[in-house]
Amino acid sequence: MKRRSTFLMTVLGFGFAFLYIPILSMIVFSFNSSRLATVWGGFSTKWYASLFSNQKVIDALLLSLKIALVSSTIATILGTMAGIALARFTKFRGRVVFSGLVTAPLIMPEVITGISSLIFFIMLADWVGWPGARGFTTITLAHITFSMVFVSTIVNARMVQSDRAIEEAAMDLGSKPWQVLFDITLPVISPAILSGWLLAFTISLDDVVITSFTTGPGSTTLPLLIWSKVKLGVTPDINALATLMVLTVGAGVVAAGVIMFRAERRRLADERLAYRNND
Amino acid sequence: MEEPFLRIEGVSKSFGAFQAVKDVNLAVGKGEIFALLGGSGCGKTTLLRMLAGFEEPTAGKIFLDGRDMAGVPPWERPIHMMFQSYAIFPHMTVEANVGYGLKHEAGLTKAGRAARVAEMLDLVQLKPFAKRRPHQISGGQRQRVALARALARQPKLLLLDEPLAALDKKLREHTQFELMSIQERTGVTFIVVTHDQEEAMTLADRIAVMDRGEVKQVGSPTEIYEFPNSKFVAGFIGSVNSFDATVVDREGPNLRLSVPGLGGAVIARDVPGAVAGQKVSLAVRPEKIQLGKERPTSPNSFQGHVKDLAYFGKDSLYRVALGDALVQAHAVNARRGDGGARIVDWDDEVWLSFEPSSAIVLVS
């Protein structure tokens, strides 16, 4: 039965046009020689050149990468623990509070998280003298906190799907629960942990609001740099920067997607083969 | 010839290069229970879906009550289906499920609808469960919701796709008879798809046996069982001993065959189209074979020894070595020997015999 409706396909087409035309326009205008960012004045790559010679941009990028790397790694460890805890330990004191704590940052407006983190760091410095200055450390701590819950959501979803019997089988064969965790559970959920890490990395790399609250003098991440520039209006070098970021991420996501798709197809083909050989 | 109630004429269905249904011709009479019997993947569901209107035939035509169904969408066909998975709407109560199709019946008042729903729930004995949700009832009850829902629309033709396959054995046997009685009371024509030959034999007035998209034979359960027209049908319905044979000549109303596997000649029931010298198959059902210690008088008698026996209580299955062949014989355990010993036991020499009327010659 054909269930493809012209209406749905038309909306799908317009929807994707809506999602991609602004990005494509930005890419096109990054090659615009005119200083007016939205009026075409001929082809040029000069904004890319000026970008690469801009030490501020490069410093900001490096700081962003450093924060993203550290925060996503710690967030992945903590988030994985939380995801496993929620999926496997159905009864412990304070579970309701815990599951609330793990979901709240997901839907919390960023302004609230940002402002409460900032006030917390200021008060903490007041009480215990730490953190002395805001910057790398405070940004990283805040990023860990709000990105770990994304990891735990992904890990939890994967854990709920996975077959508990294999863990019980391992215990039945003499493994202690924490050995089962390392020998069985973690390997099985490793793809989810990897996607969690990637997500945490991207969120950290992309964050403006929470970073803008928890940063201090001298610590400018790339989004903060862009933020301060775009507040003043549209400029062509931001177009160039945007193009580079979009193309890098786009290439990464497409490559990951293709690899996953291939692996999935191979798995299906293998299964079919195995099935046929059994006949 | 009078136009049958449902006529399927040369219907084929291809998915890409794969032909799921091949040139099916069937005629089903009004009020019949008609079974489509075949192994899984042989195209039964596809044929039903063409009747319900979910697939258009690649070739051929379907007539219901003389009306060509080509191009008629599912929602306008007076044909309803009980889906293999039951397809109960999970977000509606039992009652709402049963009443769903009645929303589309113009001229039916709210009260009329409620009355019809009540009547249907009564019919399938689900009255007490009217307000339940689908996940709060058992598999057997869900099956009856699906039945009531389809019957509520008072279809001309009801299609049942493996209606009992999801039920356990006890419930299945009970439900078979319930289905038959419901069909009798409502008078609706049923087409039942099944892969279970016993189910088809119990339920159906007539059976079409399908294999790889083709209909191999159509007939009453007796015809299909006693007079299969091919090796496939004989083997698919019940079990059978089958031997290669050559037609020698005719002997009165019977055929004389030479059967090397049995080491001699066999007198078998004549079939049209058999000619001397033709290679055919001889099929004999295990329960048609008599087994004894003394030599019988039947023309088809052979001696062998018991290789194997399986005791089921009321009957036993014997496997008897006869030359190179192993012959299965099924015998009712009517008596026991002195002191309760078995009359026929392992390694006993026995005589096997069968009537010419039980020896089926299969040309294809």
Partner: protein, 304 residues
Amino acid sequence: MSAGRFSRWFDRKGWAGLIIGAPYVWLLVFFFLPFLIVLSISLSTNTPTAPPFSFGGEHPVINPSAYVRILTDSLYVRAFLTSLFNAGVAALLCLLVGYPMALGLTRVSTTWRNVFLMLVILPFWTSFLLRVYAWMGLMGKNSWFNGLLTDAWNILVPMDWAVKSVPMMHSNFAVVLVMVYTYLPFMILPLYASLERLDPVLDEAAMDLGSRPAQVFRDVTLPQSVPGIIAGGMLVFIPAAGELVIPTLVGNASQPMIGRLISDEFGQARDWPMASAIAVALLVLMVVPTMLYSHFQAKAEGSK
């Protein structure tokens, strides 16, 4: 405690305590405690003379004056209403665009489905800030997009109404448009997830019972996708209502949204109690109901 007893304790209970405890403590310290501090500050007195980034007010005390102002000062009431309105319209538009898109995704072949899904997710991985920025370029007076809209407008309306360019930037319209643009994937993905789970046989069953495709949608598809609609709606509505970046960049400064207000009260007015009180109010108004809803939803699911 001897080593043996320790290891026995660890095998039975300790390891579980560690797995639960580490993230629990982390979230208590870095997420929950900050909140309690915000709550306490929202009830404290204000010292406008304090230097930036330090708090001079009295606390803990119970001083509800900030909350009283939220309820009485029209600036705050209007900001709340503007936020709820913009976020509500954005969520509704996302639903209207996202629903047919998600449904369309379930109707294409698996290969295309994977490609399309990737296209839906892709913008989500690229910078949020830059996606907002892309619209700043498009909506600006001199852009080709604005030019197209201007031409279309001038052709369609009488001469007297003709404009040089369509004033899109710095308006609620711009805020809603960019919100729809940036949050659309958050609507499509949960909708797709709930639509994809539906058994197509149910559609066929409804058709078999006499429903035309539009009725099948109304009776079978739509009711079963309600959880997806609610999930998508919350994922769009809540962050949109608290949005700071979009209104700052494309919004109307004279009609601030709550996010902007919190940031301004804190940074410019240095009124910590007020900023905190607005944050708490936003939380009580939206986040708490959402969490209660999903808690009871999960319970209802569990009892099935």
